[in-house]
């Protein structure tokens, strides 16, 4: 395993080699190992391992020309080649109208071992057994078929900038997705677990297996749901996707390219006054926890929605200059579509306030209410309007008083801004969600929203 010292040596070499050919250079060298065990039909399908060691280089040249490149490295010669390639590319680029500099303060950051799992190798040895235990847990709880994936990783990285920033970071992470089925295709349930210390999360992983099995059992007999307007209770999994998108899109670059509904809404009440949401790279256990961003600006909690009011966006140095505010330490190489990354603001962990209602109380409803436990395939008609639809999958229930009826085959076709305004209650079961449909780790609880539109196939 490559150590932090080697990574820093590579990053140093990159900055040194860029020299005075550039106005600005940022180099981040990262080494990582990831493991995954995928399973379906109660069997492990494949076990995987990925080894990565690469450097990311951002440069800005005279005249506001910017460029970014990344490649794997095995030696300082590779580092030199990476820098030369990015500089040569950037020399031919036109001026970027968006670039307004990077962090100028020379700060040194030491690696934090908080949230780092020193026992991840041991965990890896036990992981196949644990996967089988999760499968068994789901079956014990009522499923007949179980599928899923357990992924865990270790990552070390070092950052060096031409302005004197020096930063080290180390992290571990895991995420587990268990999906349990009956023989029928559409009687199913899901359980998720994610966090930063896999060796301390075995109980949580087994609980995810149990939850998937229990939901699959409760989904037995699901009948066609009836389209219409209902109150909606979203599990944290669904809420993270549908409601989490709002704070995750408090990003100037998303506003500029037209994929955020928040462009002209700063200062507006967009949710009830008891709802708050932040971008928080400092939250313990957050999968995107960090102490500094790619420019070397200190990471900080950014209150995006405070007491229901949209307060601010996340920023890097360039967008902060555009908005005449300070950077929020949110700079990260990010792909805008396609595969090439640029230096842009990017969310870290979205953190909603926890609710003060028990989950049980949330389900005491006096109007027909639909409880959705998972969803996927969210697509937008118009990002700026917030018009979208998404498909509930796995267990879904129509709640009428004390009666719960499993239902299926409905689609949520609504508006995310309107739903955000119509949040009616939040439970006290806040948890972190990260999976296929939620790529920004989001801490959120079970949420009830009034008057949501459900549609279904017409034939």
């Amino acid at each position: 395993m490559t150590g932090l010292d080697t990574l820093m040596r590579y990053a140093d070499r990159a900055v040194e080699h860029a020299g005075d050919r550039v106005n600005c250079v940022i180099a981040r060298c990262t080494q990582g190992t990831e493991w995954q065990i995928r399973f379906s039909q109660n069997n492990v399908d494949i076990s995987k391992v990925w080894e990565r060691l690469g450097i990311e280089v951002f440069v800005a040249l005279e005249g506001g020309r910017t460029g970014f490149g990344e490649r794997s490295v095995t030696s300082e010669e590779d580092v030199v080649a990476a820098v030369d390639s990015v500089v040569a590319f950037t020399e031919r680029m036109p001026q970027s109208v968006f670039y307004a500099g990077v962090e100028q303060r020379a700060t040194r950051y030491e690696a934090s071992t908080e949230d780092y799992d020193n026992r991840i190798e041991e965990f890896g040895e036990r992981a196949p057994e644990l996967v089988n235990a999760c499968i068994d847990a789901a079956i014990e709880s009522g499923a007949t078929r179980v599928a899923g994936a357990l992924k865990f990783s270790r990552r070390l990285s070092c950052l060096r900038t031409g302005h004197g920033v020096e930063g080290r970071a180390m992290s571990t992470a895991y995420d587990l997705n268990v999906r349990a089925f009956q023989e029928q295709l559409d009687w199913s349930g899901q359980g998720l677990a994610c966090g930063t210390v896999p060796s301390a999360a075995e109980e949580e992983m087994l609980a995810a297996g149990h939850r998937a099995g229990e939901l699959a059992k409760k989904a037995v007999g699901a009948v066609q749901g009836k389209p219409g307007v209902y109150d909606l209770i979203m599990s944290p999994t669904v809420a993270a996707n549908v409601l989490g998108y709002i704070p995750a899109s408090a990003n100037p670059i998303m506003v500029l390219i037209g994929v955020s509904p928040l462009g002209d809404k700063i200062g507006e009440q967009i949710a009830p006054e008891w709802v708050s949401a932040a971008d928080d790279p400092t939250v313990p256990g957050g999968l995107m926890r960090r102490t500094f961003d790619f420019e070397g600006t200190p990471a900080q909690r950014v209150d995006i929605v405070k007491d229901g009011v949209l307060k601010q966006f996340i920023h890097n140095t360039s967008t902060a200059a555009m908005y005449e505010v300070e950077s929020t330490g949110s700079s990260e190489p990010t792909a805008l579509g396609g595969q090439i990354k640029m230096l842009l603001p990017a969310p870290s962990n979205i953190v909603f306030n926890n609710g003060d209602t028990s989950v049980e109380e949330l389900f005491y409803v006096d109007r027909p209410t639909i409880y959705v436990t998972s969803n996927w395939y969210t697509r937008w008609q118009d990002y700026r309007e917030g018009t979208f639809s998404t498909i509930p999958r796995d267990a879904m229930f129509l709640i009428e008083g004390d009666r719960w009826t499993p239902i299926k085959n409905l689609r949520i076709s609504d508006n995310s801004l309107r739903m955000f305004r119509n949040i009616d209650a939040m439970a006290d079961d806040r948890t972190q969600v990260y999976w296929w449909e939620v790529d920004v780790p989001t801490f959120i609880s079970t949420v009830r929203v009034t008057d949501c539109r459900f549609t279904a196939a017409t034939q």
Partner: protein
Amino acid sequence: MEHGKELAESCMQYALELGADYADARFVTTTIEGHVYRNGAPVSGGRTPSAGIGMRVLVEGSMGFASIDRLDRGLARSAVETAVKMARTTRRREPVDMGGPVSNRASWSMDVRDSLRGVDIDTIAGLAGEMNRQMEGLPSYTLILSPVVCDKYLVTSEGTEVTGHTEQLQTYVLLTGHGKAGSEQRFMDLTTAGGWERVKDTGLVERVADEVQRFKRVLEVAVAPKELVQQPVDMVVGPEVAGIIAHENVGHPSEGDRIMGREGAQAGESFWRDLKIGEARVGSQQVTVCEDPTIPNTGGFYLYDDEGVRARRRFLIKEGVANEPLLNREFGARFGTGSNGAARAAGFDREPIIRMSNTFFAAGDHTFEELFEGISLGVYMRSFSEWNIDDRRYQSKYTGCEAYLIRDGALTDTLVKRPILESTSVGLLSAVDAVSKDEVLDFAATCGKGDPMQPVPVYAGGGHVRIRGIRLGGVG
């Protein structure tokens, strides 16, 4: 390239020495360049070269996969050891069977006259300038141009050695506009497959100009006639919409790994699981949907798949009957038919899984004009915006972007705002009663599947398709 090939071969050999019953290694080099513009102004750009090896080992019926992102012999040996160890400790309850051995030696390449490798930044900036000019006047437009060149080499313990070469100019446009009819957004993937010559051959700039003019008209004059939702109506869908239907409602459910449940926790399973393939009717007699990676200059082009199996055309639905699933070697063995060459990996760091390539409605016998005859009230949906489908691939929704009113047997120039086609796969395909003679395969898309996600380029299309007696999910 030679060092990478030699290292891939040694990985494969070393896996056998460690006791693997089967091993393969893919050495893949990719160069991606990207240029991003917003409202005509450059945002930034970058270049990302990569070279790595992905290897699979089968040990006592269990599969292991490892990938390395640098050509380091020590790391490669260590990765092989890890893959073999992980596979061995898995002890899969039902062993993976790859079917009969495959030993193909071949070299294939996409047709390329003017390689994207040699295209300089000024030339790309010139094209971007031309394309951006077509979009001027809209409040917001984003353009991404990204040349991608990929070479790959596959070696297996059964004697397969295959090299392949592809080039694509990934081209993405996001339009945002406001007009008297409200506001709209349209995302277009205009990726061309081949060298720089495809920019001219496909009329890329003219295509953007045409789409922008159409989009602007939608913004100004689209209306929402309520009569369209008060009764069942007929529809004609253009090649773009036919393409997304072929991809989502036919291609995905035909994937053998979904049918057998391997994607259960990710992309989902398939309603084809409960069908008797070869006998079950899932559409009308007029519906034949094909899958074909061998069509030159398409996003899904290849001649040998990432398991070394020779590619061929597959008839997923033949005259309305579920005919043939997409299969790789593992699922070819499980279906008892062998692979039909559908294994693709998005990069060296991904395992090959069952994927689509180019999916389309086979041509029918109607002219475009004949499709409208006999329709008293209906909608012609030329393009779509929002869409989704459930994970069994049974209930889909397509919302029209550019759509026209059909009345009294003729296509009118009245634009219909956001008509919604929300139906089941079988309900939709069973309502098809005609397909046009023309076959258009130029709807480019990036298909996502797997975990970790594997985005792969595909094309989709077909002729114009007529659908009878549909109750719309809404307009406006």
